[in-house]
Subunit: 625 residues, 2 copies
C-alpha cells in the first residue's frame, strides 16, 4: 500500500476514495444532488463571475483586467478538486471534459518560473509575495496543489501535478531556511505541501511545509514587518501568528485558518512524529471541543474576524462559517488517523451531519456562509457570494465523503461513520470487502457483512458514538465478544465469508444542555437524536420561538415524516407557550404564576432548516424546570 | 398667578421652584452632591475643554479656532440653566458670580442681528442654517433660551432673556410661514420657544414653535433637500421627520430628539388645545410605554441611532442614554400637567429613581452616557465625554427637582412624588403650606401636614403609584374619605391648620415580568420595590450572574443596609446556581435533573450600580418555575 510508506505516525490510514462505495438513504440523495446540481452549478458561477477567465487572462489568451477578489483562483481549484473526486467515484465524460478544460486553463496561466496566481500575474507581477498577511498567494497555491493531487489520482493525468511541483518549487525558491522568512496569512499551503509530498515522494515539500509551520508566530513577526502604514491595525492572532505554533494552547482567530493550520500540523506530526506538535494539537483540540464549539459542530462566534472569541462565548447568532465546519471535519479526521480515538470521529460526524450540510440547500443550488443557531426570520441561503469560498468547499467535501467512513490499520478495519455501501481493503494480508446496510441516522441499526475469499483474521473496529447510551453487537446473530478501545468496539476474530455483524445503537431523542458557563444557552436545552441536532422552525411552530418552553418531563417523540424535507424523523413534544392575551397590552407587570398555553412543537433536523422559507429558527429551547 | 395666564389647556400647573423645599433622606444627599460637586465639576470641564472660551472667541475677545464639537455651546447653556435653578433654591454668591461670568461671555458672542452660535460665528458665518439636519443650530438656540429663562427667573437679571428674545427674533426672521421652511435635526427649539412665550408673553414665539412642529416631516422634506452628495445615506425618521408629526403613531428614531419633540408638542397643546396634537401624543406615549421602554425608564435600544427600534426589541445591552431618561421625565411631566393622570407620574418617577440617577455616580463626578441593564463587567462611569450632553442634563434636572413634586389646579393641591420637604401654594383662595415627611423609598410611609392661616377648602390629591398594591390614608389618625381619580386619591375637605395626613403605601419587594413578546427578558424577572428597580452586582454576588436563577417561591426580603451605597434597602433571596463542578470540563452533555447549588443573592438599587467597581450586573434574573 502506497499510503503506508508515508505518515508513519498515523496508526490508521484512510481507504482510497475509489475503494469505497456509498449506497445510503441519507447520503446518496445528497451526493447525487452534489454531482448533478451543485458541481455543474458552481462551475457555471465560476465561469459567469470571470473566475475561470482570469486564468486565460493570466495566460495572455484573453484581454482584460483581473475580475473578482484576489483569492478567487482558489474557488476554481476547490471546485476542480471536488470534480476530480466525483470523476473518481462516478466517471462522467462531460464532467471530465469540463475538468480538463479548467485544468488546461489553470496550467496555461503558470509562469515560466512556476508561479501561478491570476491576481498578481495580471498586472501586479512586481507585487508578488509583498503582502503575505492579506493577499492569500500561498493559500491559493495550496488549494491548487490539493486540486492537482486529486486530479492526478482521479484521472492519472499529470498536467496539474507537474504544475503543482513547479509551483511548489517556485515557492521553495523564495521561502525556506536561509531564504525568506514568511508564511501565508491564510493557512492552507502547509497541509497541501504534505499532500504533495505524499503524492510525489519529494521530501522537500514536506520540509517546506515544516518551515511554514515552524516559522509562524516567531519573532521578528514577518506579518507585522510588512506593515508600512503606521495607522494599519493588525491583529496577528487572527492568523494564529501571535506566538510560535507550539506555544499556542487556545484556538484563536479566524476559524477556517485555524483548522487548516492544525490540519497541516497534524499531517506534519504524522510524518515526523514530533511530539511537541502532538502536545500542542491536543491542547488546541481541547480548547475547541470543550470551550469554543457550537453544538452543531460550527466554529466561529463572531463575524468580526470570522472566528473564535473567548471561552464559552457562543452566542446563537453564531458566525459558524460553513467552511469552518468543513475544516473541522478535515482536522478531526486527521487527528482520528493518528490513534483511532472515537472522540475525533464524534466531532467529525457532528460537523458533517449538522454544521456542514446545513450550508447547502436540499436543492443544492443555494448556500449559507454563516450558520447561526437561531434566526428571528429573514435569513436564507443565497445563490452565490462575492467571497464564494463555501460552495466549492461543500462540493469537494461531499464528493470525498467516502474517504471519511472507513480506515485500516495493522490487522484492523475501522468503521467510523455509519453510511450504507461497501469498502474494499487489504487487511490481515487478505482482500476483504465490508458491506454496510443501514438507514442511519433514521435508526441506529447497522448490518455489516464481511466478504473474503479465504479466512481472514483481523479486528473489526466499530465506533460507538459518544451520543449513544447503549448498544448491542452480534456476529452471526450471536452476541459478539468485543473489547472497548478509545470509543471503538473491537471484534477481533477470524472472519469467514458472509459473516454478518449487527450493530444496534440506541438512538432516543434526548435533551442536551450546555456547560453553565455558556451564557447563550443557560436554562435551555437542545434536542439531539443520534448525530442529528434538531431545531424549531417557524414553518412548524409559528413565530416568537424564543418563548417556547419545553418542560423537563415532556416526552420527546421521534416520528418519521416521509414527505418532509426529503424524509426525516421529526421530534414532537408538548411545550408551554406564554399566553399573551392575559397581558392587556402592558409591557411590565407583577409576575404571576405561570398559566401558559400548551402546544405540540415539532423539531426538525438543523441540517434541513431554511428549506421552507426564511422563517424563525432556534436550536436552543427554554427548559422547563 | 402668572403661570395660569398661560397653558390654558393644562389642568395642573407646577409650583415655582422657589415655592418648594426639599429635605429628604433620599434626595437631599444627591442634590447636595449635585450642588457641591457636580455643578462646579461640570463648570471646570466646560472651561477646560474650551467650551466657555468659544464664546469669547466668537465675541472677538479671544483668538483661536472653535474648540470641540459643533453643538458644544449647548453644554454651557444646560449647565447655566442648572446653575440658575440651584441659585434660585440655594443662593450662592460664588456660583452666581460664575453664572454671571458665563452669562456675560455668552451674551458677548451674540451677533448684531441676534444670531448666537459659536461654531458658526467663528469662521463659518456664511454656513449659517445651511445644514439643519446635522448642525444643531436651533438645538443650541433652544438650550440657550431655556437657560436664559431660568437665569431671569433665578436672578431677575435680563441680560440673557434679552439676548434670548433677540436670538428668537433672529430665528423668526429666517424661518416661519412665508419664510424658509425648515426645522432642526435635533428638536429642542420647539419647547424652548414655548418657554420664552410664557416668560415674555410674546405670542410670536409660540407661533414660531408651532411652525417648527407643523412643518416637520411635511413634503417636500427639507432635510432631504439639503443633501447634495448622492451617496449620503440619511434616515429622516432618526429625527422624527419621516411624516408630519400628527401622522406619527410610533416612537421612532433618536430617543432624546423624540422626547424633546413630544415635550414641545405637549407644550403647544397646552397653549392651543389642538386636539389633533393630543391624539398624536397619546398614541406616541402608548407606543413608548407599552412597547419600547426599559423597566428602568430608559429609552433607546440601539447605539446605531441612539434610539428606538421596533416593538418589544429591548435588549439588555441597552443604549438607554441618560439624556433620554431625563427627557422622558420632561415629557411625562408635561403630559401629567394636562389632566392629572398618574400614569404619567408613574413613568416620571420610574425614570427619575432609576434611569436618570444611574447616570451619575454617588460621588457626583463620573457619568454614564449609556445605561445598560446588564454588564459582563468592564463598564463604568467616566469623568467626561467628547459629546458631553449627559452631565449638564443631569445637573439641570436635579437642580429643578422641586418643580416635579407638586402641582396645583383649581381648588386642588397635587402630590406626585413623595419627597420630604414642603410646598407653598395658593389654593382655594388661601395660602397653604404642605409639609411632607417621609423616608420614601426606604418605606412607603408619608406624613403630610397642612398649614393654613384660615380654613381652606381644597382637594389634596395624592398619587397612588402604579406599583402599589394596597395603601391606607388617614387624616388626623382617622381613615380618610378619598375618591380615586386617575390614580390619585383625592381628599376633598376643608382643611384646618395642622391637619395631618398619613399615607401608607404597601411597598413589598416583588418580581416583575416583561410582556412575553420581549425576547430579552423571556423567562426572567426583575426585582422591584416601590419605585426602585433592583439589580444584582458582582460586588455582592460574584460573576456569571446570567446563571443565577430565582425560584418562584423564594422569599424576597428587603433589608436595610445603612452603610451600603449611601444607605439602601437591599433585597435578599435564596437562589439557585449551577454546579459547574459536575461537568468535568465538558461543553455539552445529556441534560440532567437540576441539582444546583443554593446561594443567597443580594440585589441593590439599579440607580446605585457600578459605584463599587466595573463588575458584572444584571437587572433581569432567570425565573425558576
Amino acid at each position: 500500500m502506497a499510503a503506508q510508506s508515508f505518515a508513519p505516525f498515523r496508526k490508521l490510514h484512510p481507504l482510497p476514495l475509489t475503494s469505497v462505495r456509498i449506497d445510503d438513504p441519507f447520503w446518496s440523495p445528497r451526493l447525487k444532488i452534489n454531482r448533478e446540481v451543485t458541481i455543474p452549478y458552481v462551475l457555471k458561477k465560476i465561469r459567469e463571475t470571470g473566475r475561470l477567465a482570469n486564468f486565460l487572462k493570466a495566460a495572455g489568451k484573453m484581454q482584460g483586467e483581473f475580475q473578482g477578489i484576489f483569492f478567487d483562483d482558489s474557488d476554481v481549484h476547490k471546485w476542480l478538486e471536488g470534480a476530480a473526486y466525483s470523476i473518481a467515484t462516478h466517471p462522467d465524460t462531460k464532467l471530465e471534459a469540463d475538468v480538463d478544460e479548467a485544468a488546461a486553463a489553470i496550467a496555461s496561466a503558470q509562469q515560466p518560473d512556476g508561479y501561478l496566481n491570476c491576481y498578481f500575474t495580471i498586472g501586479q507581477q512586481d507585487k508578488r509575495w509583498s503582502n503575505l498577511r492579506y493577499m492569500h498567494e500561498l493559500y491559493c497555491a495550496g488549494h491548487f496543489i490539493e486540486a492537482a493531487v486529486a486530479h492526478h489520482q482521479a484521472t492519472g493525468k499529470t498536467i496539474l501535478l507537474d504544475a503543482a511541483r513547479q509551483l511548489a518549487d517556485c515557492i521553495g525558491g523564495v521561502f525556506g531556511p536561509g531564504k525568506r522568512r514568511g508564511a501565508c496569512g491564510h493557512e492552507e499551503i502547509e497541509l497541501a505541501l504534505v499532500k504533495l509530498y505524499r503524492a510525489t515522494g519529494e521530501k522537500r515539500y514536506l520540509e517546506l511545509s515544516q518551515f511554514f509551520i515552524d516559522v509562524r508566530g516567531t519573532e521578528p513577526n514577518f506579518f507585522l514587518a510588512e506593515i508600512t502604514d503606521p495607522n494599519e491595525k493588525f491583529d496577528v492572532s487572527t492568523m494564529q501568528a501571535h506566538k510560535p505554533v507550539r506555544e499556542q494552547a487556545e484556538v484563536v482567530g479566524h476559524a477556517v485558518r485555524a483548522m487548516y493550520l492544525y490540519s497541516g500540523m497534524t499531517d506534519l506530526y504524522a510524518e515526523t512524529g514530533d511530539k511537541t506538535l502532538l502536545d500542542t494539537l491536543e491542547k488546541l483540540w481541547a480548547s475547541m471541543a470543550f470551550k469554543r464549539m457550537y453544538i452543531t459542530g460550527g466554529l466561529g462566534s463572531t463575524a468580526r474576524h470570522e472566528g473564535f472569541t473567548s471561552d464559552y462565548d457562543l452566542p446563537n447568532d453564531a458566525y459558524a462559517e460553513t467552511c469552518a465546519a468543513i475544516a473541522s471535519v478535515l482536522w478531526n479526521h486527521r487527528m482520528l488517523m493518528l490513534g483511532g480515538e472515537a472522540r475525533f470521529a464524534d466531532l467529525m460526524e457532528l460537523a458533517l451531519y449538522n454544521g456542514v450540510i446545513a450550508g447547502v440547500s436540499l436543492a443544492g443550488d443555494t448556500f449559507f456562509y454563516q450558520n447561526p443557531l437561531r434566526s428571528r426570520g429573514g435569513y436564507s441561503r443565497v445563490p452565490w457570494f462575492d467571497c464564494a469560498c463555501c460552495p466549492s468547499n461543500v462540493v469537494r467535501l461531499l464528493a470525498s465523503l467516502g474517504s471519511y467512513i472507513y480506515s485500516m490499520s495493522d490487522a484492523a478495519l475501522w468503521v467510523h461513520l455509519y453510511v450504507g455501501g461497501a469498502a474494499a481493503a487489504a487487511v490481515g494480508g487478505k482482500q476483504v470487502t465490508l458491506t454496510q446496510k443501514t438507514d442511519y441516522p433514521l435508526s441506529g441499526d447497522v448490518k455489516l457483512v464481511v466478504n473474503t475469499a479465504s479466512l481472514a483474521e483481523f479486528s473489526l473496529n466499530l465506533r460507538i458514538p459518544g451520543w449513544c447510551g447503549k448498544h448491542k453487537i452480534s456476529v452471526n446473530r450471536r452476541p459478539a465478544k468485543a473489547t472497548r478501545e478509545n470509543g471503538y468496539a473491537c471484534i477481533r476474530r477470524t472472519w469467514s465469508d458472509g459473516d454478518t455483524i449487527n450493530l444496534s445503537l440506541q438512538m432516543d431523542a434526548m435533551r442536551v444542555e450546555a456547560n453553565p458557563h455558556v451564557e447563550a444557552d443557560f436554562g435551555k436545552v437542545a434536542i439531539q437524536r443520534g448525530p442529528i441536532i434538531y431545531c424549531l422552525e417557524e414553518a412548524d411552530n409559528g413565530r416568537e420561538l424564543f418563548a417556547v418552553t419545553l418542560p423537563r418531563k415532556s416526552e420527546l417523540k421521534a416520528v418519521h415524516r416521509k414527505g418532509l424535507l426529503g424524509g426525516v424523523k421529526v421530534v414532537e413534544a408538548m411545550a408551554d407557550l406564554p399566553d399573551a392575551s392575559s397581558w392587556g397590552g402592558n409591557l411590565y407587570r407583577k409576575a404571576r404564576g405561570k398559566a401558559g398555553l400548551k402546544k405540540k412543537i415539532i423539531a426538525v433536523p438543523y441540517c434541513c432548516w431554511a428549506n421552507r422559507g426564511a422563517g424563525e429558527m432556534v436550536v436552543w429551547v427554554n427548559s422547563g424546570r
